[in-house]
């Protein structure tokens, strides 16, 4: 996200906050989020695909909403209007091909209007089909599988490259220059998790029933589109439906978070990026001392970048009355790894707790495994999946296992030593010693874990580890 994108977003949000009533505000968020899906999509070398990906995303969201929504609600008047608005936005964005002044609204030139129209007919048939046929749980489950497949397709490079090749040859474009970056789908990682959450809740008959406009807004909410946080539908819709008035705007929170976020992301993190380890410089570093400096620089860069981004998202959301959930609460100042993961990318870890860890732990209770075995399995599975969410590579798997094992050992340690430590730490001084040693150990464990995260292959990672621990 560039500063100019951010400035436009902030300006329009301010205007909306000042001049719109509750209903118009909800409509503004809806339309602006729809446009943002196209405007923020990165331009891609495969012709027109940066127009089709957002469009396919929109159609997917509509279909899945139909799947989770009672039949009589789907066909209500409000939703028919929403269909119309979505159609209009797609057509207008498609028309920017012929309107020079508005070309900034799409990543690159959209397809010809007749192509868009024919595609819309196909999508329309698909949606009608969904309305009349897609009405049971197995379809919701199918939706989850579809969304996970999409995630795998863009996170597993061999598949991404194969897809890109196929599309290139379909377009008569050069195949030799294909890379995995040919297909980048803005925000899909986050969109997918919001979709899975609502689909799974609908299977368990838990989620709220919402209008299409609300659902589309939830999935594509522009402040959280690029990098989260991952909200929950029932919470989000509560804010969206709540009365909104200018006098309730929490200026203190907004100004503080916006200033903090800009400072963290665009000044601190962008500066640290110059001295943080990356695949290029990792092999050039000549001694252990500087290797540690570069590793710590990365640890703070990733925190400040991501949490600064979240601060900005939270501030923008709050400006129009949406209280997005917190994502980071000083994670590097936590005395153990469990605490770290309760405060790092919280909306993601809560999602995994709700949809992976808890159900899996529950199911393990029926087995004859010893308690420690259940804990180990549940931690490893959850953390490995979190690793894979970042990309399907051996290094992300190992990063996940690193943290899974770390969490397991911490929980064992807790059981064995908690009492002993609390018996020893009887003075405030000793408690401080325990606390700060915990923080130091946890931070370094996390920082060393980032080596797996940032370098592309196990070999490069091991080389860097041997550099880190090479003394003299």
């Amino acid at each position: 996200m560039t500063l100019s994108n951010l400035a436009i977003g902030l300006l329009l949000t301010l205007v909306a906050a000042f001049f719109l009533n509750a209903q118009k505000r909800a409509f503004f968020i809806f339309i602006f989020s729809l446009v943002a899906v196209y405007a923020l999509q990165p331009a891609l070398p495969i012709r027109y695909i940066d127009f089709w990906l957002p469009t396919i995303g929109l159609v997917l969201v509509i279909v899945l909403w139909i799947v989770i929504t009672p039949h009589e609600i789907v066909k209500s008047r409000e939703n028919i209007f929403t269909f119309g608005w979505i159609l209009l936005v797609i057509v207008i964005l498609g028309m920017t091909r012929y309107l020079d002044g508005l070309s900034f609204l799409t990543a690159s030139i959209p397809p010809r209007i007749e192509q868009i129209m024919s595609a819309l007919v196909v999508f329309g048939i698909l949606i009608l089909f969904a309305i009349f046929w897609a009405k049971n749980k197995s379809i919701a489950l199918g939706g989850i599988i579809l969304v996970i497949s999409l995630l795998i397709a863009i996170k597993y490079q061999p598949i991404t490259i194969w897809l890109a090749q196929t599309l290139r040859s379909f377009n008569n474009q050069a195949i030799e220059t294909v890379t995995a970056f040919d297909i980048r789908w803005l925000g899909l990682s986050y969109i997918a998790f919001r979709l899975i959450h609502t689909l799974q809740d609908s299977i368990r008959r838990r989620g709220p029933t919402v209008f299409l406009q609300e659902y589309v807004t939830f999935i594509f909410f522009y402040p959280a589109l690029v990098a989260g946080p991952i909200d929950r539908l029932e919470r989000f819709v509560k804010d969206l439906r709540a009365p909104f008035s200018r006098s309730n705007i929490e200026w203190g929170f907004i100004i503080e978070r916006l200033a903090l976020g800009l400072f963290k992301k665009y000044i601190l993190a962008d500066s640290l990026a110059l001295v943080a380890i990356n695949p290029q410089n990792a092999t050039q570093i000549q001694n252990a001392g500087w290797a540690w400096v570069l590793l710590y620089a990365y640890a703070f860069q990733i925190l400040l970048d991501f949490s600064g981004y979240t601060d900005i998202a939270l501030a923008l959301g709050r400006l129009i009355g949406i209280k997005l959930p917190e994502n980071f609460k000083q994670p590097y100042l936590k005395p153990n790894l469990t605490h770290f993961w309760n405060n790092w990318h919280m909306s993601l870890t809560q999602w995994f707790r709700a949809y992976v860890f808890n159900p899996f732990s529950r199911s393990l209770r029926g087995t004859s495994l010893p308690a420690w075995g259940m804990i180990l399995l549940a931690q490893l599975l959850t953390m490995t999946l979190i690793g894979l969410w970042h990309g399907i590579t051996p290094n992300f798997v190992i990063w996940g296992l690193w943290h899974g094992l770390g969490l397991f050992f911490h929980s064992r340690w807790q059981n064995v030593l908690r009492v002993r430590v609390s018996n020893w730490a009887t003075t405030p001084m000793r408690q401080q010693v325990v606390n700060w040693s915990g923080i130091l150990i946890t931070f370094n464990f996390v920082a060393l874990g980032w080596v797996w995260f940032v370098l592309p292959t196990p070999q490069k990672t091991l080389d860097f580890f041997s550099l880190l621990f090479r003394f003299g």
Partner: protein, 81 residues
């Protein structure tokens, strides 16, 4: 009724989760956000509540936003009984 429920829950948490049977837990003490109950034990607590009080707490509800103290947990259980 509520106090009895809180006492039962407290006993379970102190002995089975914290493994410090003598530990006192106040009714408004933070359980989850303080780290006293880790995520794995939270599932145990959920199962215990289900077995003991016949109330299901969903996987998506096992977090500090839904309940973080004994008081809040008891209120949640009672609202579903």
């Amino acid at each position: 009724m509520t106090e009895e429920m809180i006492a039962t829950l407290k006993k379970f948490i102190a002995t089975e989760i914290a493994r410090q049977p003598d530990r006192s837990i106040a009714a408004d003490e933070k359980l989850i956000s303080s780290g006293l109950i880790d995520s794995f034990s939270l599932v145990d607590l959920g199962l215990y509540v289900e077995d003991t009080f016949g109330v299901r707490i969903e996987d998506t509800e096992l977090n500090a936003d839904t309940f973080d103290t004994l008081e809040q947990l008891a209120a949640l259980i009672q609202s579903r009984q």
